[in-house]
């Protein structure tokens, strides 16, 4: 198929495309944190927030409202009118697989993304 020698221009094009490929591979590796996204799952919907940006938001489900904060790469439940209060007492989550659960509201907050060197955090 390639019986002729590659021209300088062909080699240049190949080098540029390969460089782009390597950059695409390298950028996520350079920017990946311990955990990238907070995935919020309610009985009605699923949505995500980046852990890299400090923010706060509310989630309402089954008559319960959770006031969630993302601060310094970690997420936690700041306030809630939930009767058992387990979610407020839970520690902040920041690593892949870590979860805060509010059973009465049917809401879970799970950190997803960020490879680290483990497949999961248990416990």
């Amino acid at each position: 198929m390639f019986s002729h020698r590659l021209s300088y221009r062909d080699a240049l094009v190949s080098a540029v495309v390969l460089l782009i490929a390597l950059l695409l591979l390298a950028i996520p590796l350079m920017t990946t944190r311990a955990g990238e996204w907070l995935v919020v799952i309610t009985p009605e919907e699923t949505f995500s927030y980046p852990l890299s940006r400090d923010t706060s938001f509310e989630v309402s489900s089954r008559g319960i409202t959770l006031y969630i904060m993302i601060e310094g790469g970690a997420a936690f439940v700041k306030e809630s009118n939930c009767p058992d209060g387990v979610c407020i007492a839970s520690h902040a989550v920041s690593k892949n697989g870590e979860t805060i659960l509010c059973a009465p509201a049917g809401v879970t907050l799970t950190v997803r993304g960020g490879d680290g060197d483990v497949d999961h955090v248990a416990g």
């Binding site: 198929m1 390639f2 002729h4 590659l6 062909d10 094009v13 190949s14 495309v17 390969l18 782009i20 490929a21 390597l22 695409l24 591979l25 996520p28 995935v39 799952i41 009985p43 699923t46 970690a74 009767p83 058992d84 209060g85 387990v86 007492a89 839970s90 520690h91 902040a92 989550v93 920041s94 690593k95 697989g97 870590e98 979860t99 659960l101 059973a103 049917g106 879970t108 799970t110 997803r112 993304g113 490879d115 060197d117 483990v118 497949d119 999961h120 955090v121 248990a122 416990g123």
Partner: protein, 332 residues
């Protein structure tokens, strides 16, 4: 033409390089009173969606059998019965057989009849006070696995108010069933997490071992070490930080000692058990926590069951059973 082919070839290289990081496809369900995540290592999105749907069906079925809140579940029907004369599903009977055997072999450190204590602590939290002595005494009369009799089709009880809770063993059995299905699903590998129960199957795309970190019971953002988990093994963790009630600003965790009716305080903060029987791993993680370090290690040495364990004490010290010492690496 030649140039087009060359560019296509390099683009293919580009795509293959970018696509090699197969982090897997995940879905999360909220069932069995916990958050369940299934991760599949596959690039076939259609297959993954079909498998997720089947996983959900399997788990809905187990939830329908063992839920304490669904009125038609085996557990609810049994709890509401006069003498336990309820025909139970064969999976429930099998689970109860394991539960009663573990109860007996651990001298009651694990006990499926502990529900009256759990309910008492919840009621006391609502009242903002500790349980009264007479309330604990009343609960004692309604607990005790040895009061139950398992037959071929049902579980007999002497008092109508006796109640069982399979929350400390059912998730382990369900995760085992889920893994059994996933092993035949056509996907090469994956991971299932019920939060405190984790199992893997098959192989990762890069052929590396599955590595699971163990949460630090004193710092939810931290871990104490990493273990390798092999296909067919189920990890179950019980810790004093998982669920609790708050009374007068003090946390009382959910791992109750059936002997006292109070949260077990035998010096352990977290126990991880690894076994090939999911129900066993789940029940033993609770039992070893209730026993405390020395009794737990003696129980391991007795060889009654095939399992390994990691015990984390309140002071942060960690003990690993000898069969697992080369598979758990403690953080330095």
């Amino acid at each position: 033409m030649k140039r087009t082919l060359l560019v296509l070839l390099t683009l293919a290289t580009l795509l293959s390089i970018c696509g090699c990081g197969n982090g897997g496809r995940s879905t999360t369900f909220f069932l069995m009173d916990t958050s369940i995540t299934v991760t599949l290592y596959t690039n076939n999105g259609v297959l993954a969606e079909d498998i997720f749907a089947e996983c959900r069906e399997i788990l809905v079925e187990y939830d329908s059998l063992w839920s304490r809140t669904k009125p038609e579940s085996d557990v609810s029907k049994w709890n509401d019965s006069e003498n336990g004369d309820v025909t139970l599903d064969v999976r429930t009977l099998s689970l109860l057989q394991t539960a009663l055997a573990v109860s007996e072999n651990t001298d009651g450190a694990f006990d499926v009849t502990v529900a009256p204590f759990v309910e008492l602590w919840s009621a006391c939290e609502a009242d903002g006070r500790l349980p009264l002595e007479e309330e604990l005494e009343a609960a004692f009369t309604l607990t005790g696995y040895e009061k139950l009799t398992l037959t071929d089709t049902s579980l007999k009880k002497p008092f109508a108010n006796m109640r069982i809770d399979l929350g400390g063993i059912g998730k382990g059995a369900a995760i085992k069933a889920l893994i059994a299905y996933l092993e035949t699903s056509g996907v090469e590998g994956g991971l299932v997490s019920f939060g405190s129960n984790v199992a893997v199957f098959g192989a990762k795309p890069d052929g590396a071992e599955f590595r699971v970190a163990l949460r630090d019971p004193k710092d939810a953002g931290g871990t104490v070490g990493v273990m390798t988990l092999q296909t067919g093994e189920i990890l179950s963790v019980s810790g004093d930080y998982e669920r609790f009630v708050m009374i007068d600003g003090i946390k009382y965790h959910h791992l109750l000692d059936p002997e006292s009716g109070y949260p077990a305080e035998k010096g352990l903060a977290s126990v991880a058990v690894i076994a090939r029987d999911g129900a066993l791993a789940d029940a033993l993680s609770t039992a070893l926590f209730v026993m405390g370090r020395d009794a737990a290690m003696a129980f391991y040495e007795s060889g009654i069951y095939a399992f390994e364990a990691i015990l984390i004490a309140q002071d942060g010290s960690i003990d690993v059973t000898k069969g697992f010492s080369n598979r758990f690496s403690e953080n330095k």
